[in-house]
Subunit: 122 residues, 2 copies
Amino acid sequence: MRDPRLHCPLTFAVKAISGKWKLYILSMLSDGQPKRYSELRNTCENLTEKMLTSQLRELEQDGIICRKVYPEVPPRVEYMLTEAGSKLCVIFEPLYEWGLEYMKEVKPDKLHLLEMVKQRMA
Amino acid sequence: MRDPRLHCPLTFAVKAISGKWKLYILSMLSDGQPKRYSELRNTCENLTEKMLTSQLRELEQDGIICRKVYPEVPPRVEYMLTEAGSKLCVIFEPLYEWGLEYMKEVKPDKLHLLEMVKQRMA
DNA sequence: CAGCATCCCAGACGATACTG
DNA sequence: CAGTATCGTCTGGGATGCTG
């Protein structure tokens, strides 16, 4: 981390997950089960087809997910995490914990919302 | 990670480091020593004052760095990592390793550059 | 079903000049 | 020394409609 010329792998990693819907998509895929395009699309009404497609393409190009086309009619396309993608999701955990710890000092309002969702689920 | 409504701490963390010069600045500060504004600015000629200032402000607002002004003439301002910032930098390591591992399949050219820099340093 | 094409806008980013 | 201010550009993302 000391030499800025050396942190391009880190930059690569951060850029690879810096898209508005990428963490969302990865969270959908993180159970390891392949998901169809429509399956991903229908989980959130704010997610447009254009954005879903572009985010999927970028994740694919960065080797995080893979796209499998089945030669059927009607067409079926499934997306799932690659090995790289799975390992990436593991690394998210300490990052999540960090956010949880330090968000309360900076974005207490959002954290409050989070707590409400958690309670409603329990 | 399973429920997308729950990953806002992760989104917070990723957004907090998603600025063009943020990882660069954090790498400068990651030795724990406070750095002056000019010290940060002079390490890279592509980094403009506007960008340096804006990135520093955002990092400060997210609680990752702190800004200390010394009441002197000429003015002196130092930046250093907060506790949150230090912990964040530790988490970068597995992310860096991930990038190093999987960049070679996606961006072999950039990885090649990295190797050249390393060899020149050794 | 799983997309692409087109148009549009806000905000990120850059270049240059000025200041307490 | 450590910043603002102003301008221009470019890209990420949204809205809408069309297609193999």
